[in-house]
């Protein structure tokens, strides 16, 4: 009998087991694997193994027209697709020198923050589930689903909104959308005490999350950690504020930070970001009605669109961290080269290997989820 997930019988007697953590393992986020060598309960060596979700996006995008790629890009990170769309569109706009209308920029912020909110709700649930508490997962996903309803209403799709195209967005908000958005935000607000009671002030959870997978600020910088994971080490850096794009410089929001850089700090940073996202969304609700104008800059016929030769490097703060797109055009109707730097490609590979080594098997899943690793973004 041989199987992927185990084989110990034929091994010489040893205290060391080798375990494939994933790809089919509930403690792994998505379809990803971590091969670990355990001594008793302790992990002595770890090796990340990706590629289970590899689709060859960068190659596919070189084969498709600029416009056709808008359908492709949100698939790169499934739990948080909106930043991918926006980043790709922004890159093409930079190459073409397209000026995106104000209203479209606000709508993009709306989409991005909704997506961040949804992604964080999902992550909390996942993180809690790795510690054996499933109720936050059930709640979080159900509450996220209300946000997906909003996505559906706004963009026509629950998960893959395909809402952005180079030049702007595809549709304006439907009637009364802002009211419903506001209601949903109120509802989420009203749910937050429940989450606090259940998760964020749960002694057992705090005890488990604290000191799990700690990263110091020096390590974080050394390993290229970004996003909430970097902010959990005390560095208040956010692409939205420090390398602003869209209309983030007109919005008020704080950057939550924590010092210790462990799973609990990361969770708290994300909780803070959730609140900030709600705050940003409320500002959007206030400001959007006053911003008129078109939602889309005119673009040429997409079937015959040669984007001027050049390169663009676009950075966006996704819910996982710094998302960058490097897009090169040779003046043709298809991208010449697209390189996607998913934030998880740092913390789901090298950082995860580092953090897992030396910890105990029960914390592996928790560390991975608290880092908010997104395997499809690593595999692309």
């Amino acid at each position: 009998m041989r199987a992927e997930n185990y084989e110990a019988r034929n091994h010489p007697p040893s205290n060391e087991f080798e375990i494939n953590f994933g790809p089919n393992h509930p403690g792994i986020e998505g379809n990803y694997a971590l091969k670990v060598k355990v001594h008793g309960d302790e992990i002595v060596a770890a090796r990340a193994d990706g590629g289970y979700l590899h689709r060859g996006f960068e190659k596919l995008m070189e084969q498709r027209l600029w416009i056709q790629n808008i359908a492709l890009v949100p698939r790169i990170c499934v739990p948080d697709p909106a930043p991918m769309e926006v980043a790709y569109s922004m890159a093409v706009e930079q190459l073409c020198g397209l000026e995106v209308p104000q209203r479209a920029q606000w709508l993009r912020v709306l989409l991005l923050e909704l997506s961040r909110l949804a992604a964080h709700l999902f992550t909390f649930g996942g993180h809690a589930a790795t510690t054996g508490m499933y109720t936050p997962m059930f709640w979080g996903v159900a509450d996220r689903d209300l946000l997906l309803d909003l996505f559906e209403e706004l963009t026509g799709g629950r998960v893959y909104s395909i809402y952005n195209i180079p030049g702007g967005v595809r549709r304006d908000i439907p009637d009364d959308f802002l009211t419903r958005l506001s209601d949903t935000l109120d509802y989420i607000d009203s749910r937050l005490p429940d989450y606090d009671n259940l998760l964020f002030t749960n002694q057992v959870f705090v005890r488990r999350a604290r000191d799990a997978g700690p990263v110091s600020q020096a390590q974080a910088l050394d390993w290229g950690v970004t996003g909430p994971n970097l902010r959990a080490t005390g560095l208040a850096f956010d692409v939205r504020r420090d390398d602003p794009y869209l209309v983030y410089d007109e919005l008020e929001f704080d950057i939550p930070t924590e010092q210790p850089g462990d799973a609990w700090a990361r969770t708290l940073v994300r909780r803070g970001e959730l609140l900030q996202s709600i705050r940003i969304l409320r500002q959007v609700i206030d400001r959007l009605p006053d911003i008129g104008g078109p939602i889309r800059a005119p673009i040429p016929n997409p079937l015959a669109w040669n984007v001027p030769a050049g390169e663009a490097y676009v950075r966006i703060e996704s819910s996982k961290g710094e998302l960058s797109w490097y897009v090169v055009s040779d003046g043709g109707d298809k991208p010449y080269r697209v390189h996607i730097r998913g934030p998880s490609s740092m913390h789901a590979v090298q950082v995860l290997e580092h953090l897992v080594t030396g910890c105990r098997i029960e914390d592996v899943a928790q560390i991975m989820f608290s880092l908010d690793a997104c395997p499809p973004e690593v595999d692309r």
């Binding site: 041989r2 997930n5 089919n24 509930p26 379809n31 091969k35 289970y52 996903v141 159900a142 998960v159």
Partner: protein, 242 residues
């Protein structure tokens, strides 16, 4: 290879028309219970998996249909292929599928399991799931909403209760066909730890198409199974570089 002596497989041929009334009632009861209790393997092969958490959790609550996620292939009844399977994943999916206990059901959701979906040009993903394993049900969408998934599962339940979801038998009956496609993709030396041919004999599902050119090829290349060496690559970096 599964040593069939070591892993005895109980064979019971359901005989819907014959048998005494008790065995018929018992068969009906089993079929009914099978349809009312479905364990889905918790394996997110692709992006469609993002719609499974909503389907399983409070908003759409699959458990009211008796469907719950399970962790290991041994425990599961349903292999849910959620969208594209990369070639690398497909190997694991095949191993998983062969390890699942019969009767087992495969559901292909999303476009990608049918004809390659939007990744049809990609060198990394498999295109037609039913080339590699029998599929009982497809759910259309990219990705299907939780409601669609639930509707599909309800249809599967009806089919199981009616004794129609027998795709897994096809895998034994036409093993050569499926193995051929696997070999085409994974290379001639592809082999799995399960002795499907022996199992087919045990289930009484050995048919004229169980064996063929591809199984002969398998026998030629078949290596005695050894423990999977773990490729940590931590010990010998020089070797790796070369």
């Amino acid at each position: 290879m599964t040593d069939t002596e070591q892993f005895p497989v109980r064979v019971e041929q359901p005989d819907r028309n014959g048998g005494n009334i008790f065995s018929r009632v018992f068969d009906e009861l089993t079929a009914f219970c099978r349809s009312r209790s479905l364990f889905i393997l918790h394996y997110c092969t692709g992006c469609g998996a993002i719609e499974l958490p909503p389907a399983m959790t409070s908003r759409f609550d699959m458990e009211r249909l008796g469907i719950s996620p399970m962790v290991s292939p041994r425990q599961a009844d349903i292999l849910l292929i959620t969208g594209y399977v990369s070639v690398k994943t497909l190997k694991r999916v095949m191993l998983t599928y062969e390890q699942m206990g019969s009767p087992k059901y495969v559901i292909g959701i999303c476009s990608c399991t049918v004809n390659g979906g939007m990744y049809w040009q990609s060198y990394a993903t498999a295109k037609k799931l039913n080339d590699y394993m029998p599929v009982d049900l497809y759910i259309a969408g990219c990705m299907p909403r939780p409601e669609a998934v639930i509707t599909g599962l309800r249809q599967l339940m009806d089919k199981i209760a009616a004794g129609e979801a027998n795709g897994w038998e096809d895998y034994y009956r036409r093993y050569d066909y499926y193995l051929g496609h696997q070999q085409r993709l994974f290379g001639e030396t592809w082999q799995t730890p399960t002795d499907v041919i022996a199992e087919a004999r045990h289930y009484g599902l050995f048919g004229p198409e169980t064996l063929g050119d591809h199984t002969r090829l398998l026998e030629q290349h078949q290596a005695p199974l050894e423990a999977l060496e773990m490729q940590l690559g931590l010990g010998a970096p020089d070797e790796v570089k070369a």
